[in-house]
């Protein structure tokens, strides 16, 4: 697992309030279906911004971006690339 995916999973463990262990879900698994509420997803977004020192633009603030580890991974990479 990449360091990035590792860190995303740490944020999810701390903030997504999933009823299951995040490590039992694969990168493509739907986090909302796994029980992440929209309220918890906002805390996940805030924590991700903090952890990676990024800001999600409004165009990225939608369910499809945050519904899986893979989706978050792609979004964070995209923003890091833009910042570089």
């Amino acid at each position: 697992m990449s360091a990035l995916a590792e860190e995303i999973r740490r944020v999810l463990r701390d903030h997504a309030r999933l009823p299951v262990d995040v490590d039992s879900l694969d990168d493509q698994a739907d986090l909302f279906r796994a029980g992440m509420s929209s309220h918890a997803s906002v805390n996940v977004m805030l924590a991700l911004e903090d952890a990676f020192d990024i800001e999600f633009p409004d165009s990225m603030l939608k369910r499809s971006v945050f519904e899986s580890v893979a989706g978050i991974d792609a979004a964070v990479q995209e923003l890091q690339k833009r910042a570089a």
Binding site: P19, F32, R33, A34, G35, M36, S37, S38, H39, V42, M45, L46, E49, E55, F56, P57, D58, S59, L61, K62, R63, S64
Partner: protein, 391 residues
């Protein structure tokens, strides 16, 4: 384009006629007796208005969302209950129409709806979820046979006893998390409604919205295939807030018209004399104008965002905030207008049996902030505001 505009205009004119001639005639009685506005709904049926939003190729009227919104407004001016029944039905129809992909069963359903002018009620709220439509306790559950079933305790089901079909939210399966929902369309003859409560309210009395325990048995193809979160963001929530707001705008506009009639009558009695109430009316007009501006701009933004490929904008938090704000603003502004008019008219406006009475308008408009409680929407928005960038 001009054909579509003409089609919308003809539809709105037909609904306005029904509003003026049928809904208005029974509005006081519907309110007093808390009874279903059957004359107006029958007239809407006879005019094909219940399938107005269904595409023409499926037998419907092919009317646009702005056309439906205008119809909600026209009905709202004459009978809030008729208008709200019509609006709620159109929310369900519009939602199905916008999410037909991969749901051939629903195309067949819409043809039948158009032919038979079927009326759809919705069962979204549930006892135990704290008013959160995004969560369900009820679950779609397998039976021994090919059918599925669900049981849901609903605190209110508007016109549940008068509908032909019910659109119900429930968890996808008994194992699914609370937020993992689907929409189920069941016919009234597949659905048992056990009464669980009354509907003796201060307003919106004719919507006949008591609680029920809803038990439905249905085929798998009666579950809408599109993901519920997509359906919520792209259609169910914005259409609800838009159509409701046009009803509230209609109520407030009629209250204002009554205020204006009162002031004009006063001016005619004493030509040349100042009419103090006219100043108050001028203030109310600016309140009404703000309401109208908010409602119309939200409709315009929805139409624009719906026309974009993939409706990407409707999936963003900014969009959720936008259409939540429409509901908050319109639901608080409409009773403010009605209250302002009451103060302009004075005691005559307080009388139920006066042509200038606005008591019904005020009472009906007060439901706006409670149907999906504004406090709940504020708490959702408070969370989104932490992260959304452009407001």
């Amino acid at each position: 384009m001009s054909i579509a505009v003409d089609r919308d205009a003809a539809f709105v004119a037909a609904v306005r006629k029904i509003a003026d001639e049928v809904a208005a005639a029974h509005a006081d009685e519907v309110d007093r007796d808390a009874r279903f506005p059957r004359e107006a709904v029958d007239a809407l049926r006879a005019a094909g208005a219940l399938s107005a939003q269904v595409p023409e190729e499926l037998g419907g009227g092919g009317v646009s969302v702005p056309g439906i919104a205008s119809a909600c407004f026209e009905l709202g001016r004459r009978c809030s209950a008729t208008a709200m029944v019509f609006a709620m039905h159109q929310i369900q129809v519009g939602t199905i129409v916008r999410h037909l992909d991969g749901a051939p069963g629903f195309e067949t359903y819409l043809r039948g709806l158009s032919e038979e002018q079927r009326l759809i009620a919705s069962v979204t709220s549930e006892i135990g979820t704290g008013g959160d439509m995004g969560r369900s306790i009820a679950a779609v559950t397998p039976t021994d046979g090919p059918l599925l079933e669900l049981e849901k305790r609903a605190p209110t089901v508007s016109y549940g006893a008068h509908c032909d079909d019910l659109f119900t939210t429930a968890r996808r399966s008994p194992e699914a998390e609370a937020g993992d929902q689907v929409l189920v369309l069941s016919r009234a003859d597949q659905t048992e409604l056990e009464p669980a409560g009354t509907w003796d309210t201060i307003g919106m009395r004719g919507t006949c919205s008591p609680g029920f325990i809803v038990r439905a048995k249905f085929a798998p193809e009666q579950v809408l295939a599109a993901p519920f979160s997509t359906v919520m963001n792209e259609s169910l929530v914005p259409l609800s807030h838009i159509f409701w707001s046009f009803v509230w705008l209609g109520i407030a506009t009629d209250a204002f018209e009554r205020g204006r009639s009162f002031v004009r009558a006063a001016a005619r009695r004493n030509p040349g004399e100042p009419v103090p109430a006219a100043h108050g009316l001028s203030r109310v007009m600016s309140e009404l104008t703000m309401l109208r501006a908010e409602v119309q701009s939200a409709l315009r933004e929805f139409v624009e965002a719906s026309d974009e490929p993939g409706r990407e904008r409707l999936a963003t938090m900014g969009s959720v905030l936008r259409f939540n704000n429409l509901k908050l603003a319109a639901s608080e502004q409409a009773p403010r207008v009605c209250m302002g008019v009451l103060e302009v008219i004075g005691i005559v406006g307080y009388k139920n049996d006066s042509p200038f009475g606005v008591g019904r308008h005020l009472r009906d408009s007060l439901s706006a902030r409670l149907m999906v409680a504004n406090e709940r929407i504020h708490s959702v928005d408070a969370g989104l505001l932490m992260i959304a960038k452009e407001i």
